[in-house]
Amino acid sequence: MRLGPSKRRVPGASARWLLGRLGGLLLVVWGAATAGFLALTLIPGDPVDVMLGVQAQVSEQVKAQIRADWGLDDPPLARYLQYLGRLATGDLGESYQLRQSVSSVIGEQLPATLQLTLLAVAFALSLAAIATLAARGRRSTRIVSLVELTAVSSPTFWTGLVLIAVFVFQLGWFPIAETGSLRALVLPALTLALPVAGIISQVLRQGLDAASAQPFATTAIARGLGGRRLLMRHTLRHAAADSVTLVGYLVGTLIGGAVLVETVFARPGLGRVTLRAIIDRDLPVVLGIILLAAVTFALLNLAVDVLYRWIDPRLRTGSAAT
């Protein structure tokens, strides 16, 4: 039996919605690329000097030759169109300093960072689940929320150093630097995971609280459903829908955090390359990585919205279309 206005599905609504979202995604990527190009053009200083290094003694002739080779003398509009054209084919340009294409720089460094972030996500989800299960009753909830607050507020570069001081130097449980081994990955991933776990469990708990105050929860209890089944079948599903929107925040934290965590633990990866490129002002590399981050972010957000509509059927009906 269904009360209230009938919610008939509007045929094609989902398809049109998806198309609109894909268009929006393209817009974001184009905006990011344009902003990046503007930054690259507006930056003070001659890229040739960056390529050659400060001490290089090179005649103006050679510099002019390099400029011509890299197309730096063309009018900005022509360069912009060329840049967009190259981007469309997946070409991110050439590093000023590494004498290597940006895509291959990213390709080389991506696996290490991916390993780190994936393990961090796994840690974060497990920790958040533990925290949610541990927060039962008034006192334990207070303790858990205090732990969450600390986890969220501690800067990753500090947490990392404290973990190293305790587990590497005092207890000797983990190696200092041993790239490739899974043991060396544990502490960095944990460092990256802690603030994320704190946020997820905060939002999940708020969602659970809100869901258990809803009439459907009362009805379920009246029907005789007990704690765990109520949690699994009703309230958790409700709360999960809320925490799914966190994914965007999560990606941002993980990418930004990777720069700090890789520096703290002296690990190779995209974060380290980004930092190096910023210090050397190797802008094509910086831009390539930032563009990659923006695209990843936009794609994941789209995936989240699709998932959200799947979890929450109310959004699929034409009446609730936004």
Partner: protein
């Protein structure tokens, strides 16, 4: 296992008061340390004393000494000025810019609004920390670019809230009534829209202040902000990095202060938000 039925409503006003007071007290101590660091310590934060190098924490040196014999406590106390200044500046700039852009978008014709919204959307598709890094890549490292980078990175968030808030207030009954009664548009904006937007933004800024300090410390830790021998929290941490095995205190204490600052800012911000919501309800 207990099941609470529908009465899990939060009662904010009194609940967080003790925490809010403790948080304010800590932030007040920081302000005093920034204004008059000599009140807290007689040690010099910059002068090196090699004979005193790497001493463990003691009564004489509460946070120990670093590799050149400087008192870590003195460096942390003197560092308050730098971090606080950057935090306050960056947050104020971000909030003001966000308020301007957001209110403008909320009041402007639809075309302008959607243009501004798209720009906000694009900026928000960059992770905040990465956006700050990009700004520093363009401007070069240093305190000024640090402030610009941190404030620019958080403008979109403020602008978005200001825009939504402007919409809500603008379409509320009393503003419509004022417009119908012949109050000029700019006046209703100044008297009604802006004051109603500032409140939520100030709450956000309280929390954002802590985040700004943590980001500044993070960027300085990476070598992109304050330069040695400035006693800046992130910088002290990065100097202590190489002595974790022998002298953990150099890195641990400044980070602890950063963490407590961030916690205080969010406890205070959440308390203010809970109070604001209580009043609105």
């Amino acid at each position: 296992m207990t099941v609470t039925l529908g009465r899990t409503r939060l009662r904010p006003p009194r609940a967080g008061l003790a925490g809010a007071i403790a948080a304010s007290a800590f932030l007040l101590v920081l302000v005093v340390a920034a204004a008059a660091p000599a009140l807290f310590t007689s040690a010099d934060p910059i002068q090196t004393q090699v004979l005193q190098a790497l001493r463990a924490p003691s009564i004489e040196h509460p946070f120990g000494t670093d590799q050149t014999g400087r008192d870590v406590f003195a460096r942390v106390v003197y560092g308050a000025r730098y971090s606080l200044a950057i935090g306050v500046l960056a947050t104020t700039i971000a909030m003001t810019a966000g308020l301007l852009v957001g209110t403008l978008a909320g009041l402007a014709p639809r075309l302008v609004d959607s243009a501004i919204s798209r720009v906000i959307e694009v900026l928000m598709s960059f992770p905040e920390f990465l956006l700050a890094l990009l700004v520093i890549a363009i401007l070069g490292p240093g305190p000024v670019s640090l402030v610009i980078a941190i404030s620019l990175a958080s403008v979109p968030v403020y602008a978005r809230v200001a825009r939504v808030q402007t919409f809500t207030v603008r379409s509320s009954g009393y503003v419509r009534a004022a417009v119908i009664l012949g109050v000029p548009k700019w006046r209703s904006v100044l008297r009604h829209v802006v004051p109603n937007t500032v409140g939520p933004l100030l709450v956000m800024a309280t929390i954002g202040f802590g985040t700004a300090i943590a980001s500044a410390a993070g960027l300085s830790f990476l070598g992109l902000g304050a330069q040695p021998p400035t006693p800046e929290w992130g910088l002290i941490l990065s100097e202590g990095r190489n002595f974790l095995g022998t002298a953990w205190w150099i890195a641990v204490f400044p980070g602890l202060v950063v963490t407590v600052t961030v916690i205080s800012a969010s406890v205070l911000g959440r308390y203010l938000r809970a109070r604001g919501e209580g009043r609105a309800a």
